[in-house]
Subunit: 331 residues, 2 copies
């Protein structure tokens, strides 16, 4: 299908070693001959066969990201950050959604992997600490190891809670999705309770509503529980934008105006956060930067250089129209 280095050598009338010297740039070669070989290779669109190169142990600069769901803005931003960083360092980046592919690619010269919220649980990658693997997950900062990287989720939760408290809110509801694995290692919930405590507000368990899924109707049901109470909160912090959308619907159904009667904020800054009415105040996690950092870490590990101290990645408060000071009456 493609022209080989031996064919090229035969056409010019030199040995394949000489052609290789011209193409790789290493070793001694007559300048004139080198140019001739290069132009000939160019003309025939010579591309070295990857498999043969891998077989003799040459480098491939091939990396991959494994992720479950590609269809969200976060992954897209992450991928862009990682991809640009990889390209700048002359690395290649693939994306896969099955562990099986990783094992195949590994045999094809894959040099490193970033797992995007994916638990490597089987196959040779599982406990091969020699293979460069950057883990990206929801670990709490204190749990993160040398090859882990994460966003300061807790900080984001504290940001939004402080924002609500500064606006004057005192009764703040929180809608959270219960993680089946470890229900209490939830940074957002920790931020909610922590900031309340700092503000000297007693934690009221009935203001914390636990729902099952990251679905609009779960947010709706959670908000309904909070908003139907006679002493309803003046603000709701939903742990995800999609839950906040459900809060909007609940508020409409109960004829409560946002933000006049009830302030609502989310977390994620999904594409649609600014499309809602009123536009949703939320937290934007720096996924682009995360991708960049993760790829930097990976490349450093591949090249066996040690990575400089990992700076924390802080989310950002995006103020829009869904939060206001509580009304006098409700205070």
């Amino acid at each position: 299908m493609s022209v080989t280095i031996t064919e090229l050598a035969g056409m010019i009338g030199v040995s394949k070693s000489t052609v290789h010297r011209a193409l790789s740039g290493s070793g001694q070669i007559r300048e004139e001959l080198k140019q001739q070989i290069l132009t000939c290779a160019e003309a025939h669109q010579y591309m070295p066969n990857m498999s043969a190169r891998v077989l003799v142990g040459a480098r491939t600069y091939m990396t991959a990201i494994i992720a479950r769901d590609f269809g969200n803005v976060h992954f897209s931003q992450f991928l862009k950050g990682a991809g640009d960083t990889a390209a700048a360092a002359n690395y290649h980046l693939l994306t896969v959604s099955r562990e099986e592919e990783l094992n195949n690619l590994r045999q094809s010269g894959l040099e490193g992997v970033i797992s995007f919220f994916w638990d490597i649980k089987s196959g040779p990658l599982k406990n091969q600490s020699s293979f460069p693997l950057i883990h990206l997950n929801k670990v709490m900062p204190q749990d993160s190891g040398e090859n882990d990287i994460s966003i300061e989720v807790l900080y984001g939760a504290e940001l939004i809670m402080r924002h609500l408290l500064e606006k004057g809110h005192r009764r703040i509801g929180h809608i959270t999705v219960t993680q089946p694995d470890d229900p209490d290692k939830n940074p957002k919930q920790a931020g909610y309770r922590g900031e309340l405590k700092k503000a000297g507000i007693k934690y009221d368990p009935s203001l914390l509503v636990k729902v099952r899924f990251y679905r609009e109707y779960c947010g709706y049901e959670g908000a309904m529980k909070l908003l139907r109470r006679p002493d309803r909160p003046t603000a709701i912090f939903a742990m995800a934008d999609v839950l906040a959308v459900g809060c909007y619907r609940a508020a409409r159904e109960l004829n409560l105006r946002i933000p006049e009667d009830i302030s609502i904020c989310g977390y994620d800054d999904k594409e649609y956060a600014s499309y809602l009415y009123p536009a949703l105040t939320t937290i934007r996690p720096p996924f682009g930067l995360l991708g960049q950092r993760a790829m930097e870490m990976l490349i450093h590990r591949i090249e066996k250089r040690c990575y400089p101290s990992p700076e924390p990645l802080f989310p950002e408060l995006i103020e829009r129209g869904s939060v206001a000071a509580p009304s006098e009456k409700s205070k």
Copy 2:
């Protein structure tokens, strides 16, 4: 790093040919010996080296999708459809976002590519008709070749226009994004004008607003032009959901209720279409099915079987709350 077939052979005390026979299942081998080899290979987690296999011309069952933007529901659905189909046929699927990667992978045994709205414009893939490449783009049905596949976009536009006409609308605005390449090969616009004609309504050029980008503010500006007129339309067909979001904002600003004063519909059925208030009536293109079909076509081409007649892929009307009959007054 990994155990080779020769090492395996040495451990058992047979030749590599015998080990290969046991692993591949082809050729004659004593059953007892075969089992012994298989258990030994299993115990040492033997995985054949992909590069070596490719080098001698073995199959890899490796395919790839190249796409520009992963962060939308359409691509996610498409990928799931294609991925499931690939897995069912024992094929592997990668995702890339640069043409360069394709050329590398090709040398690593890549057997076929699906291009997701991507114009292959350089490199060896450009005009190598021998390499299996399924093209997925916005071609009109009559322009599609043997290796093209597309959704019946025109049909979707006709669906939504018929829906509006059946509700009784006569003055219908259309917001369209002008394609710089060929401005008049726009199936959605064709559906708009075609259905008007079929209904015996004269086409009014001033009801067709052209905007520059797929952005919320473009939809807003387009809708403003339409809604500020004294003889404003009773319905707007925006060619994309994101433009419809802009229409919502324009309507709110002009104190027009949706759908009582103005009906609005989009196209795409993005994630947020049901999150808007009122929920957006729109068209859902069958991207999951498209992925499945595209992968089927690709596998057929790889295996040099001819593909059965490609059935058209029809979008679906998703009726929600943003369309109603026009009010008596506006009629």
